[in-house]
C-alpha cells in the first residue's frame, strides 16, 4: 500500500509553494513513498511514555534586557531586493 498519493504530493507542493510538473509529481510520489515507508520503522518502538525532544540542551526562555537599538539602514535592507520602489519591496499583483 502506498503511503502517499500523487494528489497528496500535489497538495503538499502547493502548501510548500512549489510548482511541480506532472512528471515531477510522479517522481516525488515514488521517492517520498519510499522514504515514508522507511520512516514507518519507527512504529516498531513503543513511545507511549517517552517525552519528545525538540532541543537537546536544558535551556528554556532565554531572556535579555529589552534595550532599543537602531534598525538596519533602509539602503541595506533593500540592497538585495529583486524589485523595489519608493523604499519598499515591490511584488506582483496580489489580487487579479
Amino acid at each position: 500500500m502506498s503511503r502517499i498519493s500523487i494528489e497528496q504530493v500535489k497538495h503538499v507542493a502547493h502548501l510548500a509553494r512549489l510548482a511541480i510538473t506532472e512528471e515531477e509529481a510522479e517522481m516525488f510520489t515514488k521517492q517520498l513513498d519510499a522514504i515514508i515507508t522507511f520512516a514507518e520503522q519507527l512504529n516498531e518502538l513503543d513511545t507511549e511514555n517517552v517525552p519528545p525532544t525538540s532541543h537537546v540542551l536544558n535551556m528554556k526562555n532565554v531572556m535579555r534586557d529589552d534595550v532599543p537599538t537602531a534598525g538596519l539602514p533602509l539602503e541595506d535592507v533593500l540592497k538585495n531586493a529583486p524589485d523595489q520602489q519608493d523604499g519598499q519591496f515591490r511584488v506582483p499583483a496580489i489580487l487579479e
Binding site: T47, P52, A81
Partner: protein, 485 residues
C-alpha cells in the same frame, strides 16, 4: 615542504622570526588555488583583493605591535552557507545566486578578531542537504585523493580545499555528518562541536535543532585553535550555551592513560565495510598501546536514527526555507502572473530536486493529520537515541567507531536513489540527534582512499575528544599523507 604542511604554531614561529610574511601565506593560498582548483573545484567565490589587503595590514601590525589574534595571518576558507558581509553567499543554490550579505555571521566576527584571513567561499550541497556535494547548484567538487570520487558532503568544498592544500583552515557546518563525513573522505580533521558551543547566528538555517558550525583542518592542534576562536556564548543566538570555553590546546597532553573507550557494536556491524572495520580495530590497538582500554557497548536505537533524522531535519527545513520567496533577496522568476504564482515559480526554478524533496517531506510530516504519526513520533525516538548516549557516557569517556561505512564513493554512484545516499550518514546522524560533539580524524587508507575514525564525547567535552585524537595522531602518520594533484 609546502607552507601549509606546517602547523599554526610553527607558522607563527616563522612569522615572528621574519622567515615568512602574512602576504606569503596568502600568496601560497591563491597560488595553490590557481594550480589545483580547476581540478578540485572547491571554491565558489574568491576574496582575493580583500585578502591581500588584509595580509598587508597584518604584516604592518606584525612589525609594529605586540598583541596578535589567535589565528593571526591564517588563511581560511568558509563554507558558503555562512554569511560574509560584502562577500557573495549562495548556499550553492540558484535561489541565492547573487546574495550579498549585509552583516557578518558571529563566527566571521570572531575570525576577524582573531586576525584570520578569509580566502573565499566553499562549495557544498545546496542548503547543506546531501552527502557528496553533488547537490550543488553550481559545480561538482572532486575528491583530491581520486578525482573520480566525491569529496563527501555537505561541506565537501571545505574538506577538499584543506586536503588539496589550498587553505590550512576551513569552516564547515554539520547537521547530520556534514563536517565529519567529508573530513573522513578527504583525510582531514573535522569536528562537529556540541550543539550550542558555537553561535549559529549568520549560518543559513537548515535544521535549527541540529546545525552546528565547526572547524576543518589538517591537524588536531590546528583544529583546537580554530574551535577556540569561534566558540562561546552569543547574545544573537539564544541557543548558544552559557558554558565556559576551556583552553582546548592545553588539553593536548598526549596522555590517555586509563581512558575508557566504548565501541558500539552497531557501528561495526552490518553495512560497514570489512576494510573500514579493520582500520578502526587497528586504531583501537594503537589507543590501547597508549594506555586506553575499550569495551563493546550497545546504542540500541541506532538503527532508528536515520528515519528520525530525515523526519525532523526535513520538517525544520520546510519551515526554515519558507523565507526564500523572491521578495527580499535572491532569485525571482521573470514569469509570474500574481504573488502566489511568483512564490511558486521562484522556488521551483531556484531550488534543486533534493531541496524540494526535503521541503515536501517536511511539509507532509508537519501537516494536519500526520503531525503526531511522523513528526512527534520522531521527536520521541530522538529522546530514546539521546538516552542511549547518556547511558554509555555514565561509564565511558568517549565512544569510538568509524565515521562512514565506506571510503569515498564514485561520482554518480548514489545519485539515483535518495535512500541509498542517506544511508551513508548512519554513523554520524545519531551524534547530531543527541547534540554531543564528534570528530573525524584520518586512521588509515583503503586502496589509496582515506578512512575516518570517529571519536564522540560528552556534551561540552571537546577537550577529551581532542586529547584522544591528538594522542592518536602523534602515534601515527596518516595525517602527514597528502594527495598528489
Amino acid at each position: 615542504m609546502a607552507l601549509f604542511d606546517y602547523k599554526l604554531s610553527e607558522l607563527h614561529g616563522m612569522l615572528h622570526k621574519k622567515e615568512i610574511s602574512v602576504s606569503d601565506l596568502v600568496d601560497e593560498s591563491f597560488k595553490r588555488i590557481a594550480e589545483v582548483d580547476e581540478k578540485v573545484q572547491a571554491f565558489l567565490t574568491l576574496n582575493e583583493e580583500q585578502a591581500r589587503a588584509k595580509a598587508k595590514e597584518l604584516d604592518e601590525k606584525l612589525a609594529t605591535e605586540t598583541e596578535f589574534g589567535l589565528l593571526f595571518g591564517m588563511p581560511i576558507g568558509i563554507k558558503d552557507n555562512i554569511v560574509t558581509k560584502g562577500l557573495r553567499t549562495t548556499c550553492a543554490s540558484k535561489i541565492l545566486y547573487n546574495f550579498d550579505p549585509i552583516y557578518d555571521a558571529t563566527v566571521m566576527e570572531r575570525l576577524h578578531e582573531a586576525d584570520a584571513i578569509t580566502i573565499g567561499k566553499l562549495n557544498m550541497d545546496e542548503f547543506a542537504m546531501g552527502s557528496s556535494t553533488e547537490n550543488s547548484g553550481f559545480q561538482l567538487t572532486r575528491n583530491p585523493w581520486d578525482l573520480e570520487r566525491v569529496p563527501g558532503g555537505s561541506s565537501g568544498g571545505s574538506a577538499a580545499a584543506v586536503a588539496a592544500g589550498e587553505v590550512p583552515f576551513a569552516l564547515g557546518s554539520d547537521t547530520g555528518g556534514s563536517i565529519r563525513q567529508p573530513a573522513a573522505f578527504c583525510g582531514v580533521v573535522g569536528l562537529k562541536p556540541t550543539y550550542g558551543r558555537v553561535s549559529r547566528y549568520g549560518l543559513v538555517a537548515f535544521a535549527s535543532s541540529l546545525d552546528q558550525i565547526g572547524p576543518i583542518t589538517r591537524t588536531v592542534e590546528d583544529n583546537a585553535y580554530l574551535l577556540q576562536a569561534i566558540s562561546g556564548l552569543d547574545p544573537m543566538d539564544s541557543t548558544s550555551a552559557n558554558v565556559d570555553v576551556p583552553d582546548y590546546v592545553s588539553a593536548l597532553t598526549g596522555d590517555i592513560q586509563g581512558l575508557k573507550i566504548a565501541v558500539p557494536k552497531e557501528y561495526l556491524g552490518e553495512g560497514v565495510s570489512e576494510e573500514v572495520r579493520q582500520s578502526v580495530l587497528d586504531a583501537l590497538k594503537v589507543l590501547e598501546s597508549l594506555g586506553a582500554t575499550w569495551e563493546e557497548v550497545s546504542l540500541p536505537h541506532s538503527k532508528y536514527a536515520l528515519a528520525t533524522y530525515y523526519l525532523l531535519a526535513s520538517s525544520e527545513a520546510s519551515a526554515n526555507l519558507a523565507r526564500f520567496d523572491g521578495v527580499r533577496y535572491g532569485y525571482r522568476t521573470d514569469n509570474a502572473k500574481n504573488l502566489i504564482d511568483m512564490y511558486k515559480q521562484t522556488r521551483s526554478e531556484g531550488f534543486g530536486n533534493e531541496v524540494k524533496r526535503r521541503i515536501m517531506l517536511g511539509t507532509f510530516a508537519l501537516s494536519s493529520g500526520y503531525y503526531d504519526a511522523y513528526y512527534k513520533k520522531a521527536q520521541k525516538v530522538r529522546t530514546l537515541i539521546k538516552r542511549d548516549f547518556e547511558n554509555v557516557f555514565e561509564k565511558y569517556d568517549v565512544i569510538i567507531g568509524p565515521t562512514t561505512p565506506t571510503p569515498a564513493f564514485k561520482i554518480g554512484e548514489k545519485t539515483s536513489d535518495p535512500l541509498t545516499m542517506y544511508a551513508n550518514d548512519i554513523l554520524t546522524i545519531p551524534v547530531n540527534l543527541a547534540g554531543v560533539p564528534g570528530i573525524s580524524i584520518p586512521c588509515g587508507f583503503v586502496d589509496g582512499l582515506p578512512v575516518g575514525l570517529q571519536i564522540i564525547g560528552k556534551h561540552f567535552d571537546e577537550s577529551t575528544i581532542y586529547r584522544v585524537a591528538h594522542a592518536f595522531e602523534q602515534a601515527t602518520n596518516y595525517h602527514k599523507q597528502k594527495p598528489t594533484l
